[in-house]
């Protein structure tokens, strides 16, 4: 009786220990999300946010009074690609004239990343791997209107995001 129970449960355990396939895009989604929320560090002095907000408000009123009602702020975005085998990766898109030299990506253990500040708008972009291979962002919507026929993705700033 006990031997039979142990045998069955052991079979269950071996079954459950098999690897489970996790979506390969999960890493990139995590990295994208954390890029927008840095880890907690020191507490900010209470007065600083007020001063910063006042400075931003003053700048908006002085520089762009005609855009007061628009949700029209730039975003700083981190683009991430997990490519452990790549020797180089560059971010290319509408925002840098598809020039690989303008947004090279840095790697740490196969995770390539770069940060770009974008004005509101809709941008197509892709990753150029090893200088020759075009890759769309696996965690972003695909661009359907790429006139060059290479895979690319879409990011929207100042709207619904990616």
């Amino acid at each position: 009786m006990f031997e039979r129970e142990d045998e069955t449960v052991e079979r269950v355990i071996q079954h459950l220990r098999r690897p489970v396939a996790i979506d390969p895009g999960l890493d990139a989604r995590v990295m994208r999300e954390i890029a927008q929320a840095p880890p907690q560090r020191r507490r900010v002095k209470p007065l600083w946010p007020l001063l910063a907000a006042a400075a931003v408000l003053a700048t908006m009123l002085v520089v762009r009074p005609w855009n007061w009602n628009a949700a029209n702020t730039s975003d700083t975005l981190q683009f991430v690609l997990v490519a452990p085998q790549a020797a180089s990766v560059a971010l290319v898109g509408d925002f840098n004239d598809w020039d690989p030299a303008r947004s090279p990506m840095r790697t740490a253990h196969g995770v390539w990343a770069t940060v770009v500040r974008l004005a509101p708008g809709r941008y197509r972009y892709a990753f150029l791997v090893n200088g020759v291979e075009w890759r769309a962002d696996p965690s972003a919507p695909a661009a359907k209107d790429d006139e060059f026929g290479t895979p690319s993705s879409v990011v929207t700033v100042g709207g619904r995001g990616t």
């Binding site: 039979r4 129970e5 069955t8 449960v9 269950v12 355990i13 079954h15 459950l16 220990r17 098999r18 690897p19 489970v20 396939a21 996790i22 979506d23 999960l26 890493d27 989604r29 995590v30 990295m31 999300e33 954390i34 890029a35 929320a37 880890p39 907690q40 560090r41 981190q78 991430v80 997990v82 840095r106 790697t107 740490a108 253990h109 196969g110 995770v111 390539w112 990343a113």
Partner: protein, 185 residues
């Protein structure tokens, strides 16, 4: 002989993240995703919900990294966050609602002659696991599938060692009973 790759320790990667090297966190995600993903999938029973819980746990851990007192034990700390996250997912109800073929390997079984039997077995194990109370399932998975010591599980779950041993023992007995009912023994 030759060149071997030396992986940086968890403590080293946590230190780098704290100094602003976001990419180092990517290495931690890669290191733990599969093992934690397996636990989440078995605990929650629905792949989509499990991946959401896993992603959320990684993000929460990053945002709370200042509270990781012992970076050398980052993995255990991360496990604790995931265990709590899985508890709040309403695992049991979700699992009962949606049974699934639970990994890509199962889908590959088409090449095997015993495909039908193995899919039946997968389904039977899923259903048996789903019928366990969440705290029984949690203890069973952490002990036997993730291979943690009772002391480690106690630290993660907040339950006492003797209570955990009881849960595991009852989980084993109930799994046996449910599988017998499904005629897979």
């Amino acid at each position: 002989m030759g060149i071997s790759k030396v992986e940086p320790s968890d403590a080293e990667l946590v230190r780098r993240v704290r100094t602003g090297d976001t990419g180092a966190y990517g290495a931690l995600v890669s290191r733990y995703r599969d093992r934690l993903g397996r636990y989440a999938v078995h605990m929650i029973g629905d792949r989509e919900d499990a991946e959401e819980a896993l992603q959320d746990s990684f993000v929460r851990a990053y945002r709370s990294l200042a509270r990781c007192d012992d970076p050398a034990r980052f993995g255990a700390w991360l496990y604790g966050i995931l265990v709590n996250r899985c508890r709040t997912t309403g695992a049991r109800a979700a699992r009962r609602r949606r049974m699934f073929v639970h990994d890509a390997q199962a889908l590959d079984l088409a090449a095997h002659a015993d495909q039908a039997d193995r899919l039946d077995w997968t389904d039977a194990v899923d259903r048996a696991l789903a019928r366990l109370a969440p705290d029984y399932r949690e203890a069973f998975l952490l002990k036997h599938v993730e291979d943690l010591e009772y002391e480690e599980i106690a630290e993660l779950t907040g339950a006492g060692v003797s209570a955990l041993k009881m849960r595991v023992k009852r989980a084993r007995a109930q799994l046996q009973k449910y599988l017998r009912e499904a005629e897979h023994v």
